[in-house]
């Protein structure tokens, strides 16, 4: 009986989109635990913001298909997880027309953020090492 939850959203009993997003929050949560902490450690412990710059990104950080794919996966997971999470928050506090407006804005921002991230990670030219 997984109805009980001590700080997450209780498992929806309805099925469909609500249940799917409940599961997705958990799957993406596990993925983010790996992706987000790896990303944070890379930028703050392995490297340091004082050595990072646009040139550094082009010539080092993103001069690798692996790290570009990694960062794009992180972007995809974080956008879906954070915006589904913000959807829950929004629906907890707003009703009626305000809710519709807030959710429409939220989804629009989500699409824009995903597009911007995708564009930059895919369009910066790959400079070969050497």
């Amino acid at each position: 009986m997984a109805l009980y939850s001590r700080s997450g959203r209780p498992k929806p009993q309805s099925g469909g989109f609500e249940l799917a997003s409940w599961y997705f929050m958990r799957v993406s949560g596990v993925a983010l635990f790996v992706l987000a902490f790896a990303h944070f450690s890379l930028e703050h412990f392995l490297f340091d913001p004082s050595e990072e710059s646009a040139t550094w990104i082009f010539n080092q950080r993103w001069n690798s298909l692996f790290w570009r794919s990694f960062d794009w996966l992180l972007l995809m997971m974080v956008v879906l997880h954070a915006f589904l999470g913000m959807r829950t928050v929004t629906m907890d506090y707003l009703k009626g027309g305000r809710r519709t407006l807030a959710l429409a804005t939220l989804y629009l921002v989500g699409v824009v953020v995903f597009a911007m991230g995708t564009i930059v990670v895919m369009s910066v030219p790959l400079t070969m090492p050497g």
Binding site: M1, A2, Y4, S5, R6, S7, G8, K11, R26, G29, V30, L32, F33, A36, F37, F40, H44, F45, D48, P49, S50, E52, S53, A54, T55, I57, L75, V78, V79, A82, F83, G85, M86, V89, V109, V113, M116, G117, I119, V120, V121, S123, V124
Partner: protein
């Protein structure tokens, strides 16, 4: 404080911190996608933003961001563990305290590494 009285005790605080940290990280992600977008579109502006990230106030904010992420991630695992093994719910407070021990054990050295360069070390 209203926040502490509603639902009361650890379970409620765990939920409130989870929500606050989730919203905070979400706000940072919005900023961060914007700044990384500028790295492609306008590298000079990006370099200026990074100078802020490398400054002392910037580093303090990164420590707070890391703390929010660490709390949210650990508590997220706690939620999932209880969702899929409901019997663990009996120990929800103990798991929460265990989370705080990990939080301090991982967070303090992490915070030190982030602030160190600002102290000239």
């Amino acid at each position: 404080m209203l926040l502490l009285r509603y639902r009361g005790s650890e379970g409620m605080l765990a939920w409130a911190f989870h929500r606050i940290s989730g919203i905070a990280i979400w706000l940072f992600v919005l900023l961060h996608v914007l700044d990384i977008y500028l790295a492609g579109g306008n590298p000079n502006v990006y370099d200026d933003i990074l100078k802020f990230y490398a400054s002392t106030p910037g580093r303090i904010m990164e420590i707070l961001l890391g703390a929010a992420l660490l709390y949210h991630g650990l508590n997220g695992l706690r939620i999932m563990a209880m969702d899929f093994w409901p019997r663990l719910t009996v120990y929800h407070k103990q798991i929460w305290y265990a989370n705080w021990i990990i939080f301090v054990a991982v967070g303090l050295p992490g915070a030190w590494l982030i602030i160190k360069p600002a102290l000239g070390l």
